[in-house]
Subunit: 386 residues, 4 copies
């Protein structure tokens, strides 16, 4: 009989739905060392959280995260609230001895992130930041190919994360457009993801220069606070975060990097893209075709060309749990794989990846982007070690 582990989750909207699904599905497809029990879901709005509890299959609910982390029957705290509350909840959860699984971006700033990393380290709990894209089989396979030397010395990493969900001027001023709650706009939401991919695949960034833009500076305030979208009312307010940023970077290994993130690229819904060019080969990936990895080997002479690898064989990373070759996974599967990785790491007493330490490194880059966008200069990335 498999051992169980109890999960308490703070947050119940878009990400809460995705995480709930992951917790429910993981032990059906994988054999984790612990079968997760969806013990308690937590949110401030009782009606909302109660509905989510029913819909997503949680055993109980709480309306105060403090109550949740006090409970003895919670082993893992899963935090997917707005960014401004990440640090407080995560630190308290760690101090209460819970393993912590936190949605990205890690924090509002580097100072918070460092405090959080220190807290989990001190507490001796497991910790993971929700950079779920690392867990797409195609991306895990990209990492494998790199480790097998298929790229060689890296010359270029170019990346972009393009969306268009606020391109309509009538789109309301939701919490993600408000600096107080979200910290930043495209930087933390989209930039955090592609910088994580860069750090995962290429390594540390040493310096960066960036600029940001807010194309539409005033929007209607929503009548009701909410999730990803909301109906705007008659009052208007200032957009206080970036709609887009662009950045140039240098990696420690000598590679040049480019980063562009925007919510104003009409026609792109979730175009998270990177390309790597090295001495031995090149590769490309795009979230809108997340089952595919493109690879080109330098060694093929006149037969050289980018090939599209459908990363759905049972021998590809994480794939044996699912369907036959050519039977696609979706976005949600990366979340299921992510919690599998967390459970597996707890079982093996290993640090999950990406940990809070990785998350803090990520935050250091985000911080440098923000600073550079203010002074127009190159900024060295602060080294963070734990």
């Amino acid at each position: 009989m498999a051992k169980t582990i109890n999960v308490g989750m703070v947050g119940y909207k878009f990400m809460g739905k995705a995480h709930s699904n992951a917790w429910r599905q993981v032990a059906v497809f994988y054999d984790p060392p612990f079968v997760p029990v969806l013990k308690a879901i937590c949110g401030r709005n009782e009606k909302g959280v109660k509905e989510a509890k029913e819909k997503y299959g949680w055993e109980s609910y709480e309306t105060s995260w403090k109550d949740l982390i006090k409970r003895d029957d919670i082993d893992i705290v899963d935090i997917n609230t707005p960014n401004s509350s990440h640090a407080e909840i995560a630190i308290a959860a760690a101090e209460a001895g819970k393993h912590v699984f936190l949605e990205k971006p890690m924090a509002m700033n580097l100072k918070e992130a460092k405090a959080m990393a220190q807290a989990v380290k001190r507490a001796g709990v497991k910790h993971m930041v929700g950079f779920n894209y690392r867990k797409f089989p195609a991306l895990a396979y990209a990492k494998e190919l790199i480790e097998r030397g298929k790229i060689g010395r890296v010359y270029h990493f170019r990346s972009m994360y393009l969306q268009d969900w606020i391109v309509d001027p009538d789109f309301a001023l939701v919490w993600r457009l408000d600096k107080t709650t979200a910290g930043t706009g495209a930087i933390g939401d989209l930039g955090a993801h592609i910088i994580d991919m860069a750090q995962f695949l290429i390594g540390d960034i040493s310096s960066i220069t960036a600029t940001t833009e807010t194309f539409i500076r005033e929007r209607a305030i929503p009548e009701e606070s909410g999730g990803l979208s909301a109906k705007g009312g008659t009052k208007r307010g200032k957009v206080t975060v970036d709609d887009a940023f662009v950045a140039l970077a240098r990696f420690k290994n000598g590679a040049l990097g480019t980063f562009e993130c925007t919510r104003f690229a009409i026609g792109h819904k979730n175009w998270g893209f990177f390309e790597i060019n090295g001495s031995k080969g090149s590769m490309r990936f795009n979230l809108e075709r997340s089952n595919e990895l493109e690879y080109l080997s330098a060694d093929e002479g006149d037969e050289q060309g980018f090939k599209t690898i459908l990363v759905t064989n049972s021998t590809h990373p994480f794939m044996s749990a699912w369907w036959p070759p050519g039977h696609m996974l979706g976005w949600e599967h990366s979340h299921t794989i992510q919690v599998y990785h967390l459970l597996d790491s707890i079982g093996k007493d290993r640090l999950p990846e990406p940990s809070f330490f990785d998350g803090a490194k990520n935050q250091a880059v985000l911080e440098a982007i923000e600073k550079s966008s203010q002074d127009g200069k190159w900024h060295d990335i602060e080294e963070v070690k734990f």
Copy 2:
């Protein structure tokens, strides 16, 4: 409090896993009129079915389908056994007053299919054949566009379903390569799907000519019977089904059709593809990029071009239940949507689509393909009405 409905499922391998998932997930994402209860799973191998029961979350198991359909606490019988047993189980289930959900292809031949269709009609139960591809949002959207007149008079339907899983001569002689159990090879497995797409999108086929080929005629017999693959032993046997077929067809509406299905198209894992050309526009779809639909409008003059529509908006068919735009669905989601459609149809007392009546029409085409591949002539498709 939602009403429940009890499901009993016969078969527990590849398709059993996919169907189990669909039954478990459907009420988390949709609001069907009945919440399905995974009451009993059934398979002849007790050890196997018991494991599946645990893994996939069924309440009980049976080792005889006859016992299963006798149970009073079963409302829906879901049949995903090898093709040779479809007719017997489905007819018995219908006669026992159960709704029947049957994996494709419907039957071993048209005679069986007609008997099955008559049985469900007589019994007054709901019936559905598992042509899950109709339920991909992109395909449902294709249907919508056609109904809105975006194709006009249809000139061409060209289709292919390409796989490569038996291209290796050392691949063993699994049940799908055995006429006794599978009936046919590519015809029933792949052909049934694209013919269903054709019938769904274009309408009835009036006549067809076809030829088949078995490229590798002898293979090692597996040491243990099993699922999609198996280790071959030292004894060899004859492959008694087609590896591939190609066909030309005429539709009642005057369109020309081509169909090609093969398990020998190296590099294609699940390349289920069609293109339609009409007087008002063209469209293309490929299962390997199942979130996308390509469409071209004839009305755009010099701006004309095939466009790639990412069918993931909340306003696209079936999508509001899932994730934000650009967050992909996978193959399994078509199954979840399919059982949602079945539950919804039961709730509304409507015939699900595709029904056994549609399945019998499909079987009539498969039968004509088989006949034509023997005599090399064009065959009119037998009209089946219920």
Copy 3:
């Protein structure tokens, strides 16, 4: 000082323009054994042919092809008139001792084609049919890869040649839609090309079944006879050729083939496409991206994928004469390369490819398509040997 060779060309419209360009360009980019001299252009309409002479740089013109082939100063006769006149001119030219370069399709029927092949053989002249697509570097490279064993045993050849230039019902009844002048519609115009590609890459076809359709059966008769398009007048006439055909084939080497050609595939301008699947690999080509060849090797395990090879390296076939890698060639270049091949073959006293013998084999398939489209049966391809 390079030797010269004198060319006389019959026909001066679309193909005459393309051939003129090829004759003018060939010695600038290649070093053929003979520099062609554009000696005389011939057409029945004096005004038109005179203008073409000036525009395309010919030294003189004739209004009767009989006069042209009588001239002593003509070494090569290039024929690109409507199909109905091919046989008479080609035979007469051969009998006059001229090398003959003939646009495809070779003839109105197999009987003519055989007579033509016998005539050039008897006369001992060089002969080539204008299947220019063989001369695209990407296609020549495809042939190279096949000869190096990169495909292995061939299982499938699937092909289509899709255009849409007559999809508008108001498009007039030009000569290409008239059986008397054109012989057939899509069969000879498009089918001849993809059958040539099949014969070039896969080998002989042994049997075929086909059907044709004429979607729009009546059109306005043009006020003036002309080239590719013309203004329709008030009188209407019957379209006497096929708008489209579809066919299934078996090759001598055991491969299955599909062929679909149509002028009613809205959105496709010149979509000449094939894919080959074999035991060692697969490849794809499309005229609308004629600088590219897609190839997949069976030997790459989890790294397997179709790759896009840009066939523009100086080491790719025919490419050293042109531009640096990545600098595209266009459609016209295949014609320039084709006449280079003819001149080179004359210089080396070798049979050009494809010769009239190849053209007659091609015609044998076209004839079988026509017959099958009448009786609905499979037809063996008549063996033609010279």
Copy 4:
């Protein structure tokens, strides 16, 4: 009888070959007001220039450009020598009263470019810089769509020009890698092109920040100076130009821009790519598929998607002169169209585009890139007006 105009060309290697072809072809396909006469070709190496004269069809040759521009029988001077000689020759040619057609990049620095622009203005001659990519029908069509309001307010311009021809460390130190002759590396060679596209399509750039890298800093010195490639000898020298640069920019109209140019992107031969995102739509273009333009309209709701427009209709810009729809143009055709534009502008007494004034604006951006790559700061682009 068409009037003629006499051309003298300085330079006879890669670009000389392309320009010669353009001059020879232009009057065959277009009806320019003057038919160009290939009067004289000029180069320092007598043997080389003599061969080029024969091969490319020039009437005479010179070994000193000063002699060339002295000749009374020269109306247009076409300069495609290494960059370091552009200014001197162009100014002298203008002062001699010749129209000047100059390959890009215009000059070694902004000071030179301004002097050149003033010289041609003073002389009252026509002047054009060889940014031939503007003349691809697809790019001219992009401009048309923008002018018809199909993009709206521009938010983003992202661009890259990726090549890989020096990625091999054994590639020799050719003139293009030498600062003295080439001025810069990727900046002037590739950057000049995509900055021209940006200025053509989006408008003026107001400020820029950039960084450069030379990945391989030492290479073998060629035994013989030459063209694009050369055999390296035993002596080694320093690479004194950039292998790659990356840049961020702001346009006057408020758009953000990114630019990346490199010769180290293995697998890309001539990947000149841009994408524009605006309030009304998006578009993409890639030189490796130069007959295609991708466009997405914001107005299509759920039917929204990027479409691939094959820009080969006779009604697309510059296309009526060539072949039927779907019959591709190649790279060289942009040069032919470019000289057509020059001749047409001379005939109509209009300034050709891009003129030296445009070229100087381009040079101002290149200069800012160089400066920024030294000090890491944002630089305003110097306004240049004539």
